[in-house]
Subunit: 389 residues, 2 copies
């Protein structure tokens, strides 16, 4: 039975990914420091659908589906950025075949709130990843690490975005280099720093890492998280909520769908179902010893204006009237730009793409409607400005 | 009277740079957390020439040269990575015209000793720089920051090394991007992370930063630090000592000049006098608002074999016999590689280059000879391996 360690297993993606691999017969070890719950409390936001306590989420799964002890998901509260010794012990004990590392502060707006949040985002993310690198090097150097990065690391360069590496020619000489990054927040920068540290550990110590530059994820549920005690955290707020999920929540309570700035900003997206598919493909097709493999994990790219329109039309089709409103952009980002990222790597592995459509949006609408009374209107509009004085 | 804040003013370069600007009429504020003295103690190494206490170094200068109160160098013990509030207060109070930021853990071998040292190097360096960014943004956004980086950030790519930025063409489109980095230790990585954070703060908040990618510095003294109570820290040990300084110390005690590996590794170098010249040129020619200006700060590049031979011949000319010995390379680095870094930026500003020569080496030999009995042989050979298990 293959062993999988999921770091950040209480998260929007970490939880359904843990369930998925358990359902596929992996022995899953789930780790989280619960810091996202802490940040949620401090920022006065919460997921739309209330979550059970961390351990209860896995107990529910185990009660429903685990046929024997080894099939049970084992869950641990552990801060990998602080308790490196506990992380060492865990790795030495379970010797996982693969590790999926989601255990990072995931909000760009949070990282831009001020000095404390910027520093904490970077220190938490960098230290956790460094501790993992040293733990793997010492106890399990052949273990494949799948690390979650973001398409936001690249920013919006004026050239095609390749997958992590770029072949360049300069003054008649050639080299293969890390793709130059232009991240858009201290959060995005933390992922760039992680990527650089990980690439170094592959090059120097022969570690095996797949860095997934993930697009913006949307969706309320996966097949396995549909059960009411197994759902994942759906955020509609301006801190953890991503564009599509936030638009749907806004539309359902007759709040305008708020577009930041021109709405011409184009970004890469994927449905939460495809996250699971991609991670499974990444695990099945691991990096070689010493290889820092980068895959761009998204299925399509669209402008914010296109997305708002599509969400609006879909909700209208359910006989709910919606309005789209442009507001001042709280972020500092280019409003009109070239954008052509590549995702050949997963397509070549056979990724079965689920593109955004009225049907996909209605599926989310119906799933979250029973909980829509939980929306707090004050959390819908951005309260963190990139350029605050 | 222009005000200069020097962060890391107790260091090999920070101290003589502080004296230099004070001698040129700047009002100098010196800051250090004394962490290098702490690391020295813990690693069982010390500078060849014993240093007075931090505050006494500046008192000596003030007693000798300051004609009035404003000419005195004001020194503070402050950890910018920890006491951000004190840093804020200092910046609000003095509103410097320029800041020179040396305040980082400077040893690559130290950063490779183990997890603790790698994490602490990155956290110290990144947090200090982030705290500085937020302090400047809030209290003094037009202040020019001169940040010390290293040529080691680039590594040894197979293309010419430009100064921080690279114009590239890809699939018939063009962009100007940060030069892709390939750093060789967790210390070098920390400088890459800093550069990325600083570039972002220029792009997003309009800060003015000059990032100096400095070569390996050698030399025992500057004109102003010749006085016996004003010397700077000359390190010959394997942790803080750089190649040329270490070779000279080895030669003078009849220890073999130890070359790591093939000796074909080529690196960029400059004399400590030229560091002062470069920093003065960088301050006189500041980055514009919003500009992240990068200058490669070195005067020549040579292989380790060439340097060892030159040091050996110079010492022989003083009637001291020397031997060159190759030892296993404790580092993980390419032994044969292309290397063609550019330093046009400082040459265009009129940098008057002092190249390494027998005369320059003999000048160092004579300066350190009275202290050569202080060499501890056990500190001459590397005890930290990049690839330790």
């Amino acid at each position: 039975m293959k062993r999988l360690l999921v770091l950040g297993a209480d998260g929007y993606l970490g939880f359904p990914v843990s369930l998925h691999f358990a359902s596929k017969g992996w022995s899953v070890y789930a780790v989280d420091n619960l810091s996202k719950r802490h940040i949620e409390s401090k920022q006065d936001v919460s997921p739309l659908i209330p979550l059970p306590l961390y351990k209860d989420r896995f107990s529910e799964w185990n009660d429903l589906y685990a046929k024997n002890k080894t099939q049970k998901i084992k869950s641990f509260v552990l801060d990998i950025a602080v308790n490196n010794r506990q992380l060492y012990n865990l790795l030495e004990e379970i010797k996982p075949d693969a590790i999926i590392h989601f255990a990072e502060q995931p909000s760009a707006p949070y990282s831009m709130k001020g000095r404390y949040e910027a520093v904490n985002t970077q220190i938490n993310n960098i230290t956790g990843t460094l501790n993992l690198i040293f733990a793997i090097k010492r106890f399990n150097p052949s273990c494949h690490i799948v690390k979650l990065g973001t398409m936001g690391e690249y920013g919006t360069p004026n050239i095609d975005i390749e997958e992590g590496w770029l072949n360049i020619s300069h003054n008649s000489r050639n080299d293969r280099v890390l793709f130059p990054k232009k991240p858009g927040s201290f959060y995005h920068l933390s992922k760039v720093h992680d990527s650089n540290n990980l690439e170094y550990s592959c090059r120097t110590w022969g570690l095996r890492v797949t860095d997934l530059n993930q697009g913006i994820v949307y969706g309320s549920h996966t097949e396995l998280s549909k059960n009411k005690n197994l759902h994942t955290s759906f955020h509609y707020d301006s801190i953890f909520g991503t564009a599509i999920n936030r638009f749907i929540a806004q539309g359902l309570i007759n709040h305008p769908l708020t577009i930041y700035g021109s709405g011409n900003q184009t970004r890469a997206y994927l449905h939460i179902d495809d996250v699971i598919q991609c991670i499974e493909l990444a695990i099945e097709n691991p990096a070689e010893e010493g290889e820092f493999k980068v895959r761009n994990q998204f299925t399509e790219f669209k402008s914010i204006n296109e997305l708002a329109l599509l969400v609006s039309q879909s909700i209208n089709s359910e006989d709910i009237k919606t309005e789209i409103r442009k507001i001042d952009n709280p972020r500092v980002e280019e409003s009109d730009h070239y954008y052509n990222p590549k995702n050949k790597s997963f397509l070549d592995l056979g990724l079965n793409v689920k593109k955004i459509s009225e049907e996909v949006i209605i599926d989310i609408v119906r799933y979250i409607t029973p909980y829509i009374k939980n929306v707090r209107k004050k959390n819908l509009l951005p309260n963190i400005k990139w350029n605050n004085k």
